[in-house]
Amino acid sequence: MPTHPSLILGPELTRFVTGGVSINAGSASAAGVPSLCRAFGCRVDSAAGRLRLFFAGPQAVDLVRDAGRSGALAVVFSEPSTHRTIQVKGQDARIEPLADGDLACVTAYRAAFAQSLVFLGFTEAMVRTLLDCPDEALVAVAFTPSVLFNATPGAQAGTPLAPALIPSLIPTPPLTPGAV
């Protein structure tokens, strides 16, 4: 696994992780018990080279505890219609207060994710329910990407990606229902 202290996501990859993709993040306790939580959107801070993820606080208790302790975070971004999936890992995850524009980002994410799933036959009510959370309960976790994988299902899954090469390395299967 190549490690890069800080990977800068190019424009195409930035568009991908901030679009209507499914986002799930994992960490682990000191005893090696994995934690897991669905995220409600992602912001890319290009200047700082960091990603910001948003979670419903009550759903993310274990994840926030574990990531806050170790800094280790793994995040999978998957486009339901194509299965295109990437995994980003970091070692410096930190819980941060919500900043300007974060709520607007979550609102935009809900609309984008609903749109991509309604296209696959799910109801908007279903997706909105899944992503429902009072604003005051949202929490933000930020980290610097240090490892990037192609995680699209298939033999190539797990291939490390150099950010500059990402668009050509990720295959695009036909439009079909996939990960939510």
Partner: protein, 448 residues
Amino acid sequence: MIPVRALRDCLDGVIPGVVSTCAADGTPNVAYMSQGQYLDEGHVALSYQFFNRTHQNLLANPRVTLGLIHPQTAQQYRLHLVYERTETRGPVFESMKAKLAGIASHTGMSGVFRLLGSDIYRIEGAEVVPGSTLPAPSPAVDPLLALRTCMERLPTSPDAESLLDALLDGLQAHFAIEQALVMMLDPRRDRLYTVASRGYATSGVGSEIPVGDGVIGVAARERTPIRISHVTSEYAYGLAMREGAERQGMGDRLETEIPFPGLAAPGSQLAVPIPGAHEPLGVLFVESPTEMRFTHADEDALVALATQVGGLFRLFLAELELGDEAQPGAARETRPEGPPLRVRHYAANDSVFMGDDYLIKGVAGNILWTLLQDHLALGRTQFSNRELRADPRVRLPDQSDNLEARLVLLHRRLAERGACVQMEKTGRGRFRLRVDRPLELEDMDAGA
């Protein structure tokens, strides 16, 4: 704790689960899981499709957290699991393999999703993730009430044939299942033959499927229900079967093939073994053009029905053993008049042709040939199931053979073909042979 019903819905593959693992150095990993299967209150199986980071992590640290979403209510759950082992054969593996093929086809991942194994996990804990949910839709059919209503009628059936009718009628009336059939196992030939069906253009009675072929054959071989929500060509019956029949030898020449009656483009299928004392007696099979038609509750209900049908079948067989001695043949009946019909019997596969029309083969063919021989030589028309069981000419594979099912098959084939020979029930385990034309029997040499 998560209600079992909700857990099973979540694992079905409508929305892929998310698996979080952790390497020895503490690095987390998150991956998607295509399909899971509820095994019992303490275990689930997850599909293992690629040797990926998840599997590498499992070897070092068997702990997994699995995230699930209920496809109707949006309720999220998390299961805390410990990896125990990977199975690469057997009922769990085969059932998951069939389902995964359907999921792969449905999601455009055929050729990419292939089941390498079923990972078996112990459930250490379960949590209901706090969040908003939708009300669960109420099903169109209450499966428990449908099961009760359907079951009540089965034990009143006096014989195997009316039992099968009651079963298939009940599925139609109470479960709104329009396409259904029952196949029985011929253990000697490792094949299943159709004895009754509903909802098809032709009944397909007498059509055969090798054990291990498609959802029905795999359900029989593995003795496990197989339920597919998106049917793929890999498990569909059709042209491939007929081509397979063509390639086989004299024993299964195409002219003796009765087409399998299944839907041309099924969306959902469910095959449930009918349990016997040792091997399954057969398989109950239902299908629908609609995808995701059959639920876990349907599967549960059909397993209960198939278990009852299996028990009743065995009861019929036991009653046969205790039944009255065969009645001596009644007075000779008047011989029919008219031009004789040539009836040929091929010893190679016991196929019987009435004139030029193929009628039946195998044990049922042998039964018919035995009846016709006695009819012509002795003028007999009255027969009992029990004497047939003891008759060495019938050559039953063994004493526990499901003779009742073979007689149902023979009766239905004769009736469907409008043959000049018919079987008429005269009492429990007894029937009369009605012959409307003079017959000429011709025993053909093996291989002719």
